[in-house]
Each structure stands twice: as C-alpha cells, then as structure tokens.
C-alpha cells in the first residue's frame, strides 16, 4: 500500500518537472562532469576540490561565481540565459558547458 502511494506521488511529481540539483566538481583543473543538462529552476552547485582558487564564469559574461577558494562551493539557480560555455577565469583552458534541456 505504501509502495503504491509512493509510486503515485512520484508520477505526480514527474508531471510538474521537479527542479534538480546538479553537482559539478572542480578537480585536477577540470569541471566534472564537463556538460550538465539543466532546466530553468534547477540549481547547479560547483564544488572546488583543488588546492587552488578557481571560478565558474560564463563565456558570454551572463554569470560568474567569482573567486572560489579551495574546498568552497557556489550555487546558481538556473535562469533563462544560463546555457552556454563557461570557463575558469583564472585558468582559461578549463572549459565546460551548461546545456539547456534534459
């Protein structure tokens, strides 16, 4: 009975597109995963696991984490214009992508 109720709730939630949290780890000078697929309202959490500061900075300038010290994190709620490539402003060879749609 409980299982049936849970299944019903979950089906209901799927209908309204629940927001999701995506975690991107910054490790060994790379964003992992390199691509996240998101919908508006989702959140992305960047966690810096390197011993050095990094940023997550949209290539088009629309969003920027600012300086993320070692072992710190930054959370962004995805708005309409979040999709696109981004880099670490300090290490421009670190590149990744926020992709629209799931």
């Amino acid at each position: 009975m409980a299982a049936v109720a849970a299944a019903a709730t979950s089906a209901c939630a799927a209908d309204v597109q629940p927001v999701r949290t995506h975690v991107v780890e910054i490790r060994q000078f790379a964003f992992l995963p390199e691509t996240v697929s998101v919908s508006p309202g989702d959140t992305i959490r960047w966690v810096n696991r390197d011993p050095v500061p990094h940023t997550a900075t949209a290539s088009n300038g629309s969003w920027d984490s600012g300086r993320l010290e070692a072992e710190s994190e930054w959370v962004m709620v995805v708005g309409g214009a979040a999709a696109g490539d981004y880099v670490c402003a300090y290490h421009p060879n670190m590149k990744a992508t926020v992709q629209a749609g799931r």
Binding site: P51, V52, Y90, H91
Partner: protein, 178 residues
C-alpha cells in the same frame, strides 16, 4: 630512468642546470622529507618570481599569468604544509632544492635587468622551461620516489596544475613573441 630524466631536463636550458642533480643517479635516494622540501621550494620559487613579474610585466596576459602563479603555488604550499604537519614530517633541505634555488636566483638576476616587452618574453620563456622541467621531475623523480601515499597523492593532485600552467605559458609565449 636516470638517463630519461637527464634527457628531459637537459633540453630545458637554465632549469636543466638547476634540476640536473637527480640526473646524476641520486634520484632514488630522496626521502619523503626531502621530496616535501623540493615541492615546497619549487612552489615558493615560482610564486616569488611572479611577484617580480607583477611589478614589471607589460602585457595584461602576462600579469594575469603571474597572479595565477601566486594564487596556485601559494594554495598548493598551504596544502603541502598542512599535510607535512599532519604526517609530522619536517621538510629536509637537499641538493635538488638547493639547485632549484640557485637556478631561481640566476633567473631573477637576469629578469631584473629587463622591462616591458623584453621582460614579458624572458619571464614567459623561463616559465615555459621551468614548468616543463618541474612536470618531468614530478613524473620521473618525485612521484616514483615518494613512499607515503598521502604525499604521493598530493603530488598527483598538483600535476594537472603544473600541466595547466605549462599549457597557458606556451599560449602566452605565442602572443608575446609577436
């Protein structure tokens, strides 16, 4: 392996001279405390030289690179110091770190004579050589010779930083050469 290190470092000019010590066959003799000293010295040298670069560099790319060197090498050294404390290891000075310091003094003596675009070119050339040599030393000397697993792991974590610095320095070298 000794010959491989020698071949790798001998191509790197000034830095070859300062890292030539392990090539003479003493590589296997470095203790973890000595490896820790080499790592801390290598970071400190490059952060210090970057401070000179911030004062003298002309190009905004070179200045940004110097800031990155200060941030990254300082960050790595903080982590190394914390690990040494945790492991109760006191870094021990050795021939390799002494040679690194000698090479750094020579590089600085050369760079302080230069300004503007000439400084940019010489500084970035030094950074390319230095990071190439340090990357080789991490792979062929420091990681293989380290016994403590946490120190080894730290070196593996630092490797991508050095590789990223080398890649960026090479890119900037193309622009300042023009």
């Amino acid at each position: 392996m000794g010959r491989r290190i020698f071949g790798l470092l001998s191509g790197a000019g000034l830095v070859a001279a300062c890292l030539a010590v392990p090539a003479t066959g003493r590589a296997q003799d470095l203790s973890d405390a000595q490896v820790a000293h080499v790592a801390v010295t290598a970071n400190t040298i490059d952060a210090d030289l970057a401070k000179l670069a911030l004062e003298r560099a002309h190009s905004s790319d070179v200045k940004a690179f110097a800031r990155m060197m200060i941030d990254d090498h300082t960050g790595v050294n903080q982590k190394a110091a914390a690990l040494a404390k945790k492991l109760n290891v006191t870094p021990v000075a050795n021939d390799v770190s002494a040679s690194l310091e000698k090479g750094a003094r020579e590089a600085r003596a050369n760079l302080v004579k230069l300004t503007g675009a000439a400084f940019d070119r010489a500084y970035i050339a030094r950074e390319v050589e230095y990071h190439a040599a340090v990357l080789g030393a991490i792979d062929d000397l420091l990681i293989p010779t380290t016994e403590n697993s946490e120190l080894k792991e730290l070196l593996k974590t630092v490797r991508p930083a050095v590789a990223a610095h080398l890649e960026r320095a090479r890119q900037i070298q193309q622009t300042v050469a023009q």
